[in-house]
């Protein structure tokens, strides 16, 4: 029953019809009206943009090009009228349509803009299998290969009369043919003896003087040869057409030859060459200068030297960047702490400036920074370190200053009351409060930096990222797969250690003992840590090729580059290109989030401990599911792009799929934790009413997990937009591709526009997603 309202429903409806949202404003529903107004405006823009730029939803009506998406758009407008009218009568229009209609429009456009082509996933599955089998057999260990080759000569074609029999076995192992001459298509049989029993090999036809060669095939398949247990083999084959390419003149026969080649793996498995590149090897190198000068070794002697591989370079990049960013972030975080700056004259202005700089710097991805830094200090690991440092200084400084703002003022008061001066107050009341959370954040950042270090090489050179681009370019998928495994293992270890140490730091030691703990320099463990850390520092410094002088000796064009970056290009064609790629990026992220979340929903139940710990089988499934999530999560989206570029081709679709894989892994973990955290109370209560199992799930489980799930999905979309801004660097299209193109063409004005656009979109999404999530929880 509607209560009489002071507002006129007809007027509300009319206003809503005139301007969407105005009806709600009239009713005093400010937020709702504003959201409807902005949604309508955005949808209108996106629909016309999609029609103009991509001919999406094109419908030629009486010679006029229109988009059929205007139909759902109109429906949304009408829904707004209905909603305003009903709300004036204290009722509400069905909410579902308010979500469904915009969602329909957005997904139709997103689907086409992202160039989704499910057919390609199926038709080119053969290509995917190549990579999948490489992942199962990564190139890390190999056995020695022994090859045996035996060849025999043959005339092509036969002369009249036939040539005399030829000397057999011109090279390697004894092999002979049953004919001294033959022409194309004729069947010849090859015999051999003295080969490794059981070996399988191929036959090759070598043209005149061995200038060309081809594998011998029959019926579309390579002719395979297998050696008998007694070391002999015998195989008939047709003379290939290849043999006739140089002419088939009986007056002038040419001497060709046939080779049987066997490659046999012998001995035990040992680390492969790729293992050496990735992880490390012992190599004979000239001795270090110090040892030569001490007269311990001669200068021209070689000594076994361990050479660390690309993964250690990556670890070093992450470690050094974390260290540098802590050192820089600690002092500047004080500038971003409101409680401190409010006491200093002019402090408020400094506070707002500091916070703005932190946020802007943070919203530009490490890889984008990488491209800029390379212009400054040149390609190499050091550029990667600087790029990571810039981003993490901003991220850490923000977290640190928030931590300073949240300290307990009580101890400050207490230490002041004992007569302590300002220094003592900071040392005894502020310091103990902020050190543990600072350390915890630094460890979290270490984890994030290690992940970023695996991809920063895509743009900066150095580390695993660089290794990956190089191997993928050469088509070395087994080597690429090995890199994925190594990255996954290292990152999973870092993830585990970082989480464990964080927990230790925040919970602290609470053991009861009347003995004071020994100072670190009095314990063996303390010394072991100190020495270990010092060595790690020195080794990392060298591996990451830290060269601070380079920072003060920027490339000759750097000054101009910076000024170009700041004076951005806002001419309409550039803006149109930037907006187009930006929208593709946002849609890519949206589809990836949707796809990843849909797959994650059923999977997350398998990865929820509370559901899966009943039987041994189910806990085994739980462990496998968790491992899959952890494994996939430890590899950055950028590293996955190569797989999908190979599978479905370069473009937004490949980028979207790569993003969807990381989304699945991240969101699967969050979803399953949401299931693990449900409150058992309602479950008990609903069961106690006599409800069935399905009813219990419907009424006690689903309502508890839906809000956190939606909240996580929106959060993930926010994260995905950040990742999508760089997915183009590896062939995944979107704004990153545009940026690297502009930067590559030295058009830094335009590159600056791209960066500004990224900052705006990321900041906006950050704000919107935070607001929506606040409402949900």
């Amino acid at each position: 029953m509607s209560r009489p309202s002071s507002k006129n429903p007809n007027l509300a409806g009319l206003l809503a019809l005139a301007v969407p949202g105005l009806g709600h404003l009239y009713l005093g529903l400010w937020t709702r009206g504003l959201v409807i107004f902005v949604t309508t405006l955005t949808l209108a823009y996106v629909v016309s943009w999609a029609l103009e730029s991509f001919k999406i939803a094109l419908l030629a009506l009486a010679g006029v090009n229109v988009s059929w998406l205007w139909a759902p758009f109109g429906a949304f407008w009408l829904w707004n009228v209905l909603d305003a009218y009903r709300r004036a009568q204290q009722r509400a229009a069905p909410r579902l349509w308010g979500f469904l209609l915009p969602a329909l429009i957005v997904y139709v456009i997103a689907w086409q803009v992202t160039d989704v082509n499910l057919q390609r996933l199926v038709t080119r599955f053969g290509d995917a299998k190549i990579i999948l089998s490489a992942i199962v057999q990564p190139d890390l260990f190999a056995r020695d290969q022994v090859s045996q080759i035996g060849g025999a000569p043959i005339w092509v074609p036969c002369s009249e009369p036939p040539q005399p029999p030829l000397e057999t076995g011109y090279s390697g192992y004894p092999v002979r043919l049953d004919k001294s001459c033959a022409t194309v298509g004729e069947t010849v049989t090859i015999f051999g003896e003295g080969f490794v029993p059981g070996a399988t090999g191929n036959l090759h036809w070598l043209s005149f003087e061995g200038a060309n060669e081809a594998q011998i095939r029959a019926g579309g398949q390579a002719v395979a040869v297998t050696v008998d247990p007694d070391g002999r083999f015998q195989q008939s084959f047709p003379v290939p057409t290849f043999a006739g390419l140089e002419g088939l003149d009986p007056q002038n026969p040419l001497l060709h030859s046939v080779e049987a080649r066997f490659t046999q793996e012998v001995g035990a498995y040992h680390p492969s060459e790729n293992f050496g590149d990735l992880i490390g090897k012992i190599s004979q190198e000239p001795p270090p200068q110090v040892l030569v000068q001490l007269g311990l070794v001669s200068a021209d002697a070689l000594m076994p030297t361990p050479l660390l591989g690309d993964i250690f370079e990556t670890i070093a990049i992450g470690l050094m960047a974390t260290l540098f960013s802590i050192v820089i972030a600690v002092p500047i975080s004080f500038l971003g702490a409101h409680n401190l700056m409010a006491r200093v004259p002019g402090g408020n202005a400094i506070y707002y400036a500091a916070r703005a700089i932190f946020n802007i710097t943070r919203s530009i991805d490490t890889l984008i920074w990488g491209i800029i830094v390379v212009i400054w200090v040149g390609l190499g690991s050091f550029a990667g370190v600087i790029a990571l440092t810039i981003h993490s200084v901003a991220a850490l400084a923000k977290l640190f200053s928030e931590e300073i703002e949240h300290i307990d003022e009580g101890p400050v008061e207490a230490i002041t009351a004992t007569g302590g001066n300002l220094l003592q107050v900071i040392r005894y009341a502020v310091f103990p409060q902020i050190v543990p959370p600072f350390l915890a954040y630094a460890l979290l950042r270490w984890d994030i930096n290690m992940r970023a270090a695996t991809v920063v090489g895509f743009v900066a050179g150095g580390g695993i990222g660089f290794f990956v681009i190089e191997t993928v370019r050469k088509g070395g998928y087994a080597q690429y797969a090995a890199a994925l495994w190594v990255v996954a293992i290292v990152i999973m270890a870092v993830d585990y250690l970082s989480a464990r140490w964080r927990k230790q730091i925040l919970e602290g030691e609470t053991r009861i003992s009347s003995e004071p703990p020994k100072a670190w320099y009095r314990t063996f463990k303390g010394w072991a840590y100190a020495v270990g850390l010092s060595i790690a520092f020195v080794v990392s410094w060298n591996l990451a090729q830290i060269d601070l002088r380079k920072m003060f000796d920027p490339g000759p064009t750097f000054g101009k580059v910076v000024s170009d970056f700041i004076t951005i290009d806002t001419s309409p064609p550039v803006l149109a290109a930037v907006i187009k790629q930006l929208l593709i990026t946002v849609f890519q992220a949206l589809l990836a989030t949707t796809l990843g979340a849909i797959v994650a929903i059923p999977f997350s139940f398998l990865a929820a401990r509370n559901l899966m710990s009943r039987t041994r089988l189910s806990s085994a499934i739980y462990n496998v599911a968790r491992f899959i999530l952890n494994f996939l999560r430890s590899i950055e989206a950028l590293l996955y792009v190569a797989i999908f570029v190979f599978w479905v081709g370069i473009g937004p679709f490949a980028g979207m799929l790569a993003l969807a894989v990381t989304t699945f892994a991240l969101i699967g973990k969050l979803f399953s934790e949401a299931i693990e955290n449900i409150d058992a109370g309602p479950l008990e209560a609903v069961t106690a009413t006599g409800a069935t199992r399905i009813q219990t799930i419907m009424y006690a489980v689903i309502p508890q997990i839906i809000p956190p799930w939606i909240s996580y999905a929106i959060y993930q979309w926010d994260i995905n937009i950040r990742i999508a801004t760089i997915i183009g660097l590896a062939g995944g299209a979107g704004i990153g591709l545009l940026f690297i193109n502009y930067a590559g063409q030295l058009q830094y004005h335009k590159a600056g526009t791209v960066v500004l656009a990224i900052v705006i979109v990321v900041t906006l999404m950050d704000f919107v997603s935070a607001k929506i999530r606040q409402k949900l929880v």
Binding site: G419, Q433, T510
Partner: protein, 252 residues
């Protein structure tokens, strides 16, 4: 002797927390400060060691004007005045020992204390004070692993490190349950009677005032409305201080 003259405190937002308050405290007294929440008790105690700057008025401690002291002098004055807080104000993540030692900061060289250096004598003093409060076995645990009553005892031990002549206690038992309240107040009584320290203690419950205080003052909306012996607070006075609806409740 502590002498307060015409003390007034107006906060920047216009709240008048203290209005022309004057009284004296003789050495060796246990003075209870009573009044409703927001009546100005905390502001009064914090003005005495200038954790809060008074707006006007003077405070004399043994004829030295605290309100006129320079910041170096203030450091010397503060270390003679122990302060005990309602919320204990311990550094939760530091050990009990560090918290207690920090009470000595007013005496130590600021640079030496930056690297956590305290003299052997200070360490012995800390252990002695912890023993006195029955916490000798807790020296090396983190402060937040202790119960509320234990934390307040650490707070007292920290104040004792200052070897104070005056103790200001701001609702020291308001965060504790009744049984613990007595144990904490008995320590204060001991310091007052045994160690001859002057104690100013704000309290909520009247029967605690009757039991422990030698004299009482009452604040109402920032004004001094009563000064006298605890026994003089009868029902009429009580209603005058706490308002008409108040009921006397007692604590075990």
């Amino acid at each position: 002797m502590l002498r307060i003259e015409h003390l007034t405190k107006v906060y920047p937002n216009g709240t008048v927390a203290l209005k022309d308050v004057s009284f004296q405290v003789q050495d060796g007294e246990f003075l209870a400060v009573i009044g409703l929440s927001g009546s100005g008790k905390s502001t009064l105690l914090r003005c005495i060691n200038r954790l809060i700057e008074p707006t006007s008025g003077k405070i004399f401690w043994n004829d030295v004007d605290i309100t006129a002291a320079s910041s170096a002098d203030m450091r010397n004055i503060r270390r003679q005045i122990g302060f005990i807080f309602q919320q204990f104000n311990l550094v939760k993540r530091s050990t009990v020992l560090t918290n207690v030692l920090s009470g000595r900061l007013g005496y130590t060289n600021p640079w030496a204390s930056l690297v956590n250096y305290f003299s052997r004598v200070d360490h012995q003093r800390a252990v002695k004070n912890l023993e006195r409060l029955g916490l000798e076995d807790k020296a090396h645990v983190r402060a937040d692993s202790l119960s509320g009553g234990q934390q307040q005892r650490v707070g007292i031990a920290r104040a004792l490190m200052q070897e104070p002549k005056l103790i200001l206690a701001d609702e020291p038992v308001a965060s504790l349950d009744p049984v613990l309240s007595h144990s904490i107040l008995k320590y204060l009584e001991q310091l007052n009677k045994g160690d001859k320290m002057t104690v100013l203690c704000s309290l909520h419950f009247l029967d605690l005032v009757h039991r422990y205080a030698t004299r009482a003052i009452a604040l109402k909306a920032g004004e001094l409305v009563f000064e006298g012996l605890p026994v003089e607070i009868d029902d009429a006075r009580f209603k005058e201080i706490y308002g008409k609806e108040a009921e006397r409740v007692s604590i075990v």
